[in-house]
């Protein structure tokens, strides 16, 4: 399984803003468990909000990592706020817009807006708001040792950047 919960990056403005989309598909196994049919309710496939948060964390994480050319190991440290007003179902597109509120050597905080696009009508409606905090863990070790190589921004993320039309930094994505 590939733990990547965004399909494409649409915009990436350095240290400012990143927009990404995720197409929700009935082929995703997780939707079959969320929620399966019961004697009282029919099968109701809905994208779990925890994974919507993960999608925002990946969108905002790329934004925070890109600000320093992916030299820092950017770890999601805190979900400061997450609120939802709509649910994403198969066939919907989830659009994540992340902006950086603050970034320094120790970490970053981001604000995010989640929109739900319904291709049946072409309409876009607000789906939620997610505020996150990221730690640059090499600056917050608390006595812990981490591997030298950047295990956060793996080839998966560099491939995503490349497929979205953005060039990964030479030290990570040259191939």
């Amino acid at each position: 399984m590939r733990w990547i919960w965004i399909d494409r990056i649409l915009e990436l403005d350095r240290a400012s803003r990143c927009v990404a989309v995720k197409n929700v598909s009935l082929a995703e196994e997780v939707l079959h468990d969320h929620f399966p049919a019961t004697p009282h309710y029919p099968f109701t496939p809905v994208m779990p909000n925890t994974l919507v948060i993960e999608g925002m964390a990946q969108t905002a994480g790329i934004l925070v990592g890109h600000a320093n050319d992916f030299a820092e190991k950017v770890i999601l440290a805190k979900i400061a706020k997450a609120s939802f007003t709509a649910a994403a179902r198969p066939g919907h597109t989830i659009q994540y817009t992340a902006t950086i509120d603050r970034i320094d050597a120790t970490g970053a905080s981001t604000s995010g807006v989640v929109d739900l696009i319904d291709p049946a009508t072409g309409s876009t409606q607000p789906m939620g708001q997610i505020e996150l905090m990221f730690s640059h863990i090499d600056h917050n070790r608390a006595g812990l040792a981490f591997p030298e190589h950047n295990f956060v921004f793996t080839d998966l993320f560099m491939d995503l950047l490349r497929q979205s039309g953005f060039a990964p930094p030479a030290h990570l994505g040259a191939r």
Partner: protein, 128 residues
């Protein structure tokens, strides 16, 4: 216009309610951030970010919550802060009341010095 101590306290209270998910009435002046309000290490970064935004100030790394003093072996011996260490802490933390801590100097008790009042004093110092 200069902010009164009550104004600063009110805003600090808002910051801590948002950062730590606690209720207004829990955020009293003497409340300890870790022991009473349940703050964890990453919350300190969050608090610093939110204070900067709320008060339009700039807070340097290790300025409000210095974590690089107690990890220095010249300042801590056998779990106790040395005289040199106490002098350094007093220099680095003019906003904190260190007298109680000075009686035991146990590193394990150090986090108790970070109360809501400590943050209010720190912000007042930054606003002057």
């Amino acid at each position: 216009m200069t902010m009164t101590k009550d104004d600063v306290f009110g805003k600090v209270q808002e910051v801590l309610v948002d950062a730590l998910g606690v209720d207004d009435d829990e955020v009293t002046g003497s409340a300890k951030l870790i022991a009473d309000l349940g703050a964890e290490s990453i919350d300190f970064l969050d608090i610093v970010f939110r204070l900067e935004k709320a008060f339009n100030i700039k807070i340097g790394q290790n300025e409000l919550f210095p974590d690089n003093v107690l990890s220095d072996s010249t300042y801590v011996v056998d779990g106790k802060v040395t005289d040199l260490g106490m002098a350094e802490l007093r220099k680095r933390l003019p906003h904190a009341d260190l007298d109680q801590f000075d009686t035991t100097r146990n590193v394990d008790d150090f986090s108790d010095i970070f109360t809501v009042e400590t943050i209010v004093k720190f912000v007042q110092g930054k606003l002057q």
